[in-house]
């Protein structure tokens, strides 16, 4: 009898334990502790931790709120956010790519920043206009705030340019390809690309698309990928490897920024079309700032009919608060801290990005010629990626299609207009099933 009682009690305890384990939110720590998912901005996850941790410690000292930091690489970030959204078990505060703002806003997982919340951050006008425009769909309260500003630029290797007798960076694509061909010899290539990265590919599809007069969404937010201008835009980027042969076919395997940026730093490639955060990656790869220059990405001259003078998207990282955070005030406090003038100066300097608030530009670190180029691009020739819920799907479908085309080119298969058109048609069909 006694044995039975002990057995029954043990079984009940086990059962309760197992059920309790399933209900645990895994958050740990006290209620004051915030979980923060930061995106990977520097040369490694650890490098980002080393930049962020002292600042978060400062935040804890000021507010008494502890922050558990996790830096997440770009290949995983969107999936992690989706999984967190589906399970409801997410962080309190997190970084997102600003091009995903409207897509993630549509999930309803993030806290909207109403005017009261924006006022506590110093008001809308404190932020740079283009960056603030990429915080969510128009007409709705934004669900993210700008954190780091980024823009695309043409990085060129000064020594390799001098050796090839090229004195100024190319201003249009004819000059760019001509320079690329002169720079391609032996084990050296004119350009390095990250061919297996869907995000990089999609960004270039957008930039080249704008110059060709091709919008990937119509006025109603519906995808339109298959027009002749879209095909020409994507083909022009792929042709750097396919027909111009100024990019190493091995680049089709590249899926992390360190690979093309490493080639550039080692003098294996002479040009990069990259966002401003390449600065910190180049430093980590041992390249000194005076060994490379930065110019705006070329613009077609003359522009095709309907083409726009766009050579970057309004790139950047935003910060969001998960709606089901148990520490809403603490989370907003962290957003306020990270967007403060002082922290913007410290973080953007360390990560090679641009402050998103005007009052941070008083720091002389943001007066260098390189930073001035990016500021100018962001202010004048950067176009916003469409702020529509389907945007992130555009990046994954078109970007992945281009990745497969790069793979075909690398393995010697022909990739002409027909192949590009077929890939874009497939991407558009995939979009059609998602919504």
């Amino acid at each position: 009898m006694r044995v039975r009682k002990i057995g029954a009690t043990a079984a009940s305890v086990l059962l309760l334990m197992s059920l309790a384990a399933c209900g645990d939110d895994g958050g740990g720590g006290g209620e004051k502790t915030l979980t923060y998912w930061a995106s990977n901005q520097g040369p490694s996850l650890d490098a980002d931790r080393q930049v962020l941790q002292p600042e978060l410690d400062k935040f804890t000292q000021q507010t008494g709120i502890k922050v558990e930091l996790e830096v997440i690489g770009w290949p995983d970030l969107l999936n992690r956010i989706l999984a967190a959204t589906a399970s409801g078990q997410g962080p309190d505060v997190l970084n997102i790519g600003n091009t995903w703002s409207a897509s993630l806003q549509a999930t309803g997982a993030f806290l909207p920043f109403e005017s009261a919340e924006i006022d506590t951050l110093g008001g809308k006008d404190r932020f740079l206009g283009p960056s603030f425009a990429a915080t969510g769909a128009t007409g709705q309260p934004p669900t993210s705030m700008p954190l780091y500003g980024l823009a695309y630029g043409l990085f060129y290797h000064k020594r390799l340019f001098a050796e090839a007798g090229i004195t100024t960076p190319p201003k249009n694509w004819t000059e760019f390809v001509a320079a690329g061909k002169r720079l391609t010899k032996g084990g050296q290539w004119g350009l390095a690309v990250e061919g297996a990265s869907y995000t990089e590919n999609a960004h270039h599809a957008f930039i080249f698309g704008q110059q060709h007069g091709a919008d990937f969404f119509d006025g109603a937010g519906k995808p339109q990928f298959t027009g002749p201008h879209h095909v020409m835009a994507v083909k022009q980027y792929l042709d750097f490897m396919a027909t111009d042969k100024i990019a190493n076919p091995s680049n089709a395997e590249y899926s992390t920024p360190n690979q093309p940026i490493g080639d550039f730093a080692k003098g294996k490639a002479a040009m990069l079309l990259w966002q401003s955060n390449a600065i910190s990656l180049l430093a980590a790869a041992g390249m000194k700032p005076d060994e490379y220059g930065v110019a705006p990405i070329p613009i077609a001259d003359p522009l095709p009919p309907g083409g726009k003078r766009v050579n970057s998207h309004v790139a950047g990282i935003n910060i969001s608060v998960f709606k089901n955070t148990e520490n809403r005030d603490g989370a907003l406090e962290l957003v306020k801290f990270l967007t403060s003038s002082g922290e913007q100066q410290i973080l953007n300097k360390a990560l090679g990005s641009l402050p998103v608030v005007k009052d941070a530009y008083s720091d002389p670190a943001f007066e260098t010629p390189v930073i001035k180029v990016f500021q100018d691009v962001l202010a004048n020739t950067a176009g916003p990626l469409p702020q529509v819920p389907e945007e992130s799907k555009f990046e994954t479908t078109v970007g992945s299609g281009m990745r497969d085309l790069f793979a075909k080119i690398a393995s010697g298969q022909p990739v002409g207009e027909a192949e590009v058109a077929a890939a874009l048609t497939k991407a558009q069909q995939e979009m059609g099933t998602g919504g």
Partner: protein
């Protein structure tokens, strides 16, 4: 089964436990609930999802996702559309991959087990060595292959081109047609030690008198393998082949770690294909429909295999 001394006592003790069924069931309950929770509930949720339009607008609140009926299934099986055609292509690739890996792993495992069957020096060491790929954590093992197979910096091309001078052309192993060869070889490398382990255990159960009798009858080593080893291994092999097939058919870790997010079309295995179909377009309803179809396909295949092999066995008896 022969009665052993003491077995009656043991049976009596076990019987005493069964006379108190309440306790037994209560003790089993946590395991049963956990089993339900871990396996059956997600499976049921997956089936439920496949009938819903579960897109980004509803992933926060699944229950609000609109009813889709059979629409997701129709999209998945419509081989005239890009999605259906890609799924079918992925199915063929996966079948070819699974067959090659199963055959390769079984053959390697069989040969290795046969060679190490007879007592020899360092047999234990060799057996341990052969099991290393199986014992290594899957991620660590496959990511090492990813590094080795890279075109410019990988060890394989360095060996083939720079050391052995077999070819001047640095081949792509992670892109194009060779990516299929790469995934098959890496997968065989990962799975054959398991086949080796199981076949070795099977061989140790074959009575030595059978070989002696065969030798007396004049059977050479080849005939002994054909007439004694293979038939005696048959029950073990049947289960081994089924398990290996299901493992490789559903294998996610090997392709995902080897190719990262950039799976080449030629090595587009179905588990990764379904994962990409869900996450690329945020359409979890469609991904679930594909998973359910895959489950049905494997169930049918397994049932067919078991039916076929058991019939043959009955006929043999």
């Amino acid at each position: 089964m022969a009665d052993r001394p003491g077995s009656t006592g043991a049976r009596r003790r076990a019987g005493a436990g069964w006379r108190r069924p309440g306790l037994a069931y209560l003790l089993l309950l946590p395991a049963l609930l956990l089993e339900l929770l871990v396996h059956l509930v997600p499976m049921a949720v997956g089936v439920w999802m496949s009938f819903r339009e579960l897109t980004q607008f509803f992933i926060r609140n699944w229950s609000a996702a609109p009813w889709a009926g059979l629409r997701n299934y129709k999209v998945a099986v419509d081989v005239d559309s890009a999605i259906g055609a890609a799924l079918l292509r992925s199915l063929w690739i996966t079948l070819a991959y699974a067959l090659l890996v199963v055959v390769g792993s079984w053959l390697l495992g069989f040969v290795a087990a046969l060679l190490l069957q007879r007592p020899m020096r360092n047999r234990g060491l060799l057996r341990t060595l052969f099991l290393v790929p199986y014992a290594l954590p899957a991620y660590a093992a496959v990511i090492a292959w990813n590094f080795m197979l890279q075109r410019d910096t990988g060890m394989i091309n360095h060996l083939l081109v720079d050391n052995l001078h077999l070819t001047d052309d640095r081949a792509f192993w992670l892109l194009g047609d060779r990516s299929f060869v790469a995934i098959v070889l890496v997968s065989i490398w990962r799975h054959w030690p398991f086949a080796f382990l199981i076949i070795m255990a099977g061989m140790q159960n074959i009575p030595t008198d059978l070989y002696e009798a065969a030798a007396i009858d004049g059977a050479g080593p080849g005939q002994q393998i054909r007439r004694v080893t293979l038939p005696m291994l048959r029950p073990v092999s049947l289960v081994l082949i089924l398990v290996l097939f299901l493992w490789t058919f559903n294998d996610f870790t090997t392709p995902f770690v080897l190719f990262g997010a950039a799976t080449p079309e030629q090595a587009d295995l179905i588990s990764v294909h379904i994962y990409q179909s869900s996450f690329v377009t945020w359409n979890f309803g469609l991904g679930s429909a594909m998973s359910v179809l895959l489950l049905l396909f494997l169930l049918l295949l397994t049932a067919g295999y078991l039916l076929l092999t058991s019939r043959r066995r009955r006929r043999a008896v």
